[in-house]
């Protein structure tokens, strides 16, 4: 049996697209037949749960009981991959808690696979989080996710600023999430379905839907680009899954 893998998706800054990235991860694992469970820390509302209700549980990560619900069950439940969508402002405290309960040490010793997707927005405030977050990354795979929520350059036009953020952390890997067409994003919001179901023109219960062909095309193209980034970092290998020869939903 593969060792459990925990992927934390988060940022201290709000509005940078944490839940969007979490949704692409759940779709990616679903398409690659990797059993996954998810925790949505946006208690009590839960945006992630709205899109993936069957596999998502809303938790309050600041409480010990919910921390136990997540981490004490890592070996006990069948999905070997756990995705935690950490709400804004809670990434640093959550990592501190994981250090305090010995989770980071377990990751360092190889008992658990631990990856952090640090979602970055196009602002200095967001990039300033990197130094603080990286101090927790001893046993983790650390991904700096440049989420293009607008036409930002992530300060690449100013090499000094860019390098000070992106080339300072030695073991961090950059990931690029391209911008999704705004109307396409909004129609998926209205539909409240996973991106994969939207592309397949299906409703939440797999019933036939009537989404715009153009918007579905944009989502398919965007999702393929996002997934090619996950392929590039060999995400299925990281979580210890053997990748099938062809995945569903990509036809």
């Amino acid at each position: 049996m593969a060792k459990p893998a925990v992927i934390v998706v988060g940022a201290d800054k709000g509005g940078v697209g944490k839940t969007t990235v979490s949704r692409t991860l759940l779709d990616y694992f679903s398409a690659n037949n990797v059993l996954t469970r998810a925790f949505d820390t946006e208690s009590p509302r839960g945006t992630l749960k709205r899109f993936h209700p069957d596999i998502t549980e809303i938790v309050d990560m600041t409480t010990t009981s919910d921390q136990m619900k997540i981490f004490d069950t890592l070996n006990a439940v069948s999905p070997s991959v756990t995705v935690i969508d950490v709400r804004a402002g809670l990434l640093s405290p959550a990592l501190a808690s994981l250090r305090d309960i010995g989770f980071l040490d377990a990751a360092k010793s190889g008992q658990i696979t631990f990856a952090v997707f640090h979602i970055l927005g196009p602002s200095i405030a967001s990039l300033d989080e990197i130094a603080e977050t990286s101090s927790f990354m001893g046993g983790a795979r650390y991904f700096l996710v440049k989420n293009f929520i607008n036409d930002t350059q992530f300060f690449q036009w100013d090499q000094a600023t860019y390098n000070s953020y992106f080339h300072r952390i030695k073991d961090a890997t950059d990931l690029v999430i391209p911008k999704l067409n705004e109307m396409a994003y909004e129609q998926v919001e209205v539909a409240s379905v996973p991106f994969l179901k939207f592309v397949a023109n299906k409703g939440i219960s797999d019933e036939a839907a009537n989404y715009s062909f153009v918007l579905r095309g944009y989502v398919r193209h965007w999702l393929a680009n996002v997934w090619s980034e996950y392929d590039r970092i060999k995400l299925t290998d990281i979580v210890g899954s053997t990748k099938p020869s062809s995945r569903g939903g990509e036809k």
Binding site: N181, E182, M183, A184, S212, F213, V214, L215, R216, G217, Y218, R220, H221
Partner: protein, 222 residues
């Protein structure tokens, strides 16, 4: 088996005869089937809408809403042929969009047959744009229009490999005549009793070329 053709008349260059081809084709389809839907994406050139207002609507590809309004209509296999008169300014954006949304693949899945009529010219912009089309349009659906009035000689080698549809040049006085907004090719065929006139034969030759093109598409589908 029924298939719905979608003809996209295009060029990255202005004033090469796109609207003329779109007019001819629309009138031919209307004569043949009694029904056609035309879309005018042509804000900066002579407009198909002005010639055929009863069957033409304007369309835009500048924003997502416009793209949805156009493409969600033309992807439907409803048996009604569609003609898109694509202005030169919209060429890049349109084909970037069709590539991104996987238009050709989805069209095949839905029984819609896209046919791109690329109006060739001898300039560098046309030469650069053609490979863009070749990348996403199957050779059987990519037709170069050799408009004699524009090319005045042999088509550039790069366009000559695939299917070619030739439009002969008309004398200037006849060109001026057909450029009048009130002129209809089919009405002319019906009203002009003398079938030996140059214009009569020119229209019939072009209609015959469209008929041949249509037949070749049917044969490919079967």
């Amino acid at each position: 088996m029924r298939h719905t053709p979608v003809y996209i008349v295009c060029s990255p260059r202005p004033l090469v005869g796109k609207t003329l081809v779109a007019r001819l084709l629309s009138e031919f389809l209307l004569l043949k089937s009694g029904e056609v839907s035309a879309f005018d994406v042509n804000l900066k050139e002579p407009s198909l809408l002005e010639y055929l207002p009863d069957i033409t609507e304007t369309a835009e590809v500048d924003d997502t809403f416009g793209k949805m309004a156009l493409m969600d209509r033309v992807i439907v296999d409803d048996g009604v042929a569609k003609v898109i008169d694509l202005g030169f300014h919209a060429f890049d954006e349109f084909f970037k969009m069709t590539e991104e949304i996987g238009f050709v693949k989805e069209a095949v899945r839905r029984g819609v047959v896209p046919v791109v009529l690329f109006v060739g010219d001898t300039d560098r912009v046309s030469a650069r744009s053609y490979p863009t089309l070749q990348r996403q349009i199957p050779p059987s659906s990519l037709v170069t229009v050799d408009n004699e009035y524009i090319v005045r000689g042999e088509l550039p080698q790069a366009f000559s490999a695939g299917k070619i549809l030739r439009i002969g040049a008309l004398p200037t006085f006849l060109k001026t005549y057909i450029d009048r907004l009130s002129f209809s090719f089919t009405d002319y065929l019906r009203s002009e009793k003398d079938s030996s006139t140059e214009l009569h034969q020119w229209i019939r030759r072009n209609y015959f070329s469209f008929r041949e093109l249509e037949l070749s598409l049917i044969l490919q589908q079967s």
